[in-house]
Symmetry: C2
Subunit: 405 residues, 2 copies
């Protein structure tokens, strides 16, 4: 829903796709040698991934709309070089053979190794110190770099496409038996399995990323533009308090201590406010996401983007490790959901609605999502939008995916 019906446009955007990742043709043009998945893919070599994503825009919907149309394509692009490697049960090669793209399972590789003593057989550790890298961590790396490329595309095209603002991004990729949940921002994902709640993401806000931001500001003080301090104080310092002792913490501290207030401490704190009101440089309430390339501190020339990260944290859930029943789901929601409805309440709505439908009724998951959205918005009463318990409903955009496991 659109911020409880208060405005015409929705800054939340969503995408749900099945994407085919086609193996990139070998640069030497050799024909594919291994049989297998071709039957399903009409002769093209590759695999499918399933994809769901939510983009919670701010300061306009431009970045969110663009990310919803392109992020899955960037993920696909990053995975194209990995098609053979991910389907090969042996450990990923640490170094690829020369000019061979990323196709270690081709017979050409073996013959190359026979021809040329310098080409290592990466399956056998030859170095004293050699790190094993898992298939899983290649998919994580691919998703991380896809977010980066998405952010760079927004940067390149923002002027010509008149893209405004930025967005948080939460994406779930189901690939080769595993769910990869990538989060950059304050949306959230949880799995509900047999009534148990399993968090699948962490929020990135000025409060949760305080130390990363303070260390960055400490090392790059010129980016604070003489108007902000990297130190944190529990409230604004007032000029008349100069010389008095006030609580503070610096980029290294988790605890608090007293310091004598100096002139420099009168600057505005890099991070200020608590909870939903916490802001970076008095401007933005999330610290990761896509876009925001032109965002500046109000009436100043101080850029915010250097403090933001476009990199997601990726958590992995191995579907093959557990038995699942039709009521086990992955729930993705923007902060419009989670601000008013907590994990337990979401889990109880899920169970309540699903038990009232037949297990094979395909619309049962959609009804859960609708119910979660409607309950979080509340009802329009005389004193505004109210929840069932008469508390204020969410006045934010609210988006929910309920995905059966």
């Amino acid at each position: 829903v659109i911020n409880a019906g208060k405005s015409q446009h929705n800054e939340d955007q969503a995408c749900c796709e099945v994407v085919f990742v086609e193996r990139r043709p070998s640069p030497r043009g050799r024909p594919p040698s291994r049989e297998g998945s071709e039957e399903l893919t009409g002769g093209r070599r590759g695999f499918y991934f399933h994809y769901w994503a939510l983009f919670d825009g701010h300061a306009g919907s431009g970045a969110a709309v663009m990310a919803s149309k392109h992020l899955h394509l960037h993920i696909c692009e990053q995975l194209r070089d990995l098609v053979d490697i991910l389907q090969d049960p042996s450990p990923p090669p640490l170094c690829l053979p020369p000019d061979a793209g990323a196709s270690p399972t081709e017979p050409s590789r073996v013959s190359l190794a026979e021809d040329n003593g310098e080409v290592p057989n990466d399956a056998v550790p030859r170095f004293h110190l050699e790190k094993a890298v898992s298939h899983e961590s290649l998919v994580i790396g691919a998703i991380e770099n896809a977010f980066k490329h998405m952010d760079e595309q927004i940067e390149r095209e923002r002027t010509s496409r008149r893209l405004s603002g930025g967005c948080c991004a939460l994406a779930a990729v189901y690939l080769l038996g595993k769910f990869y949940v990538a989060n950059a921002g304050d949306s959230r994902a949880i799995i509900i399995r047999n009534g148990e709640i399993i968090p699948m993401s962490r929020e990135f806000t000025p409060e949760t990323e305080r130390q990363r931001l303070a260390v960055f500001a400490f090392l790059r003080p010129e980016l604070l533009g003489k108007e902000f301090t990297h130190l944190e104080f529990p409230r604004r310092v007032q000029p008349k308090e100069l010389g008095r002792k006030m609580l503070y913490r610096d980029q290294n501290m988790n605890g608090w201590a007293y310091k004598k207030i100096e002139e420099a401490d009168l600057k505005f704190p890099l991070i200020y406010g608590e909870g939903k009101k916490a802001r970076v440089m008095a401007t933005i309430g999330v610290t990761r996401g896509l876009g925001d390339h032109d965002l500046k501190v109000f009436s100043s020339n101080i850029h915010i983007k250097p403090f933001l990260s476009c990199f997601p944290e990726v958590r992995v859930y191995d579907l093959t490790q557990y038995e699942h029943c039709p009521d086990d789901v992955l729930v993705l929601g923007t902060d419009g959901l989670w601000d008013v409805t907590n994990d337990k309440e979401v889990a109880s709505v899920v169970m309540e609605v699903l038990t009232s439908y037949e297990p094979n009724d395909p619309c049962r998951y959609t009804v859960v999502a609708q119910e979660l959205v409607v309950r979080s918005r509340g009802m329009l009463k005389e004193r505004g939008w109210r929840l069932a318990n008469d508390k204020l409903g969410s006045s934010d955009d609210i988006s929910v995916f309920v995905i059966p496991l």
Copy 2:
């Protein structure tokens, strides 16, 4: 024990003290007004804390010896300004009154506030955004800053005192009903309560701090001295691999991806090696601790200290929240213990030994510590020091405290 008896000197050092924190006299010389703890302290106002600490030295025992003699005094010094505040159940004042040191419970403060409308009563939030700071987080801040001052003292006196090397530091402070466990390095602390294992620390090593170090190196590339790269590769890159694609990850990534090897990638990786063999700049295997101010990369002028942190992570255990029996203990150990004896084995030795002594026998905890040390060293056999299971014993210095809760 001293590295299984192989050398004469011990780089592990320890300290165990009861420390009295005397309230710092008010700068205006007012007499203390509140009654209470004076009876126990011979008229001096203050409180006691109990203190245990382990210092695992490297490249000499100088820093470890000095830290073992002084760290508790730095903690005491940091707490002196907090004596009244910590004993006052009301929330700590965010800003102290002018010239009054840190003594908010004096009646003078109240009269000052009455005299002068500008002095806020910090118990009542007057600002739109005002953060509540707990007593606990003041103690955490005091311990954090004590570690910093200890490190600065080592830096100041290292030449005159001929202090060599550095040390990991693990300190447990029992104060006003709570245990504060502060760790900087790869020592570890666990609580064993009713057979349950509760981790009370986290290790700081090149692997656990990879991202902090890589971000720092990325932002301060000049500190890498043209010899190191902030990128991570799963093994050394060889010159003949130029132009080929190899797995890497950068300061933002948790996953891995392939990149084309360039000239700059032939530099030595900032972090290299796995597990106990992981090193920062091929030099040091821990990333937090005290000392190491003169440490350089072998046969170079590249300093390591900027990459190290002297700040501990402080975890809190509230003793008043749980019932404890005589077999519930806090175990502190240097890595000489934990490298060969895991948490479960430690817990079973604790239970085994304690049940063989009367609950009121005061030596029972000492015997547990001795048993843990001896088992981790092993027995001298023909093929070196061996554990009971014939695996290699720890050839490191081994130190253990077993503290009844």
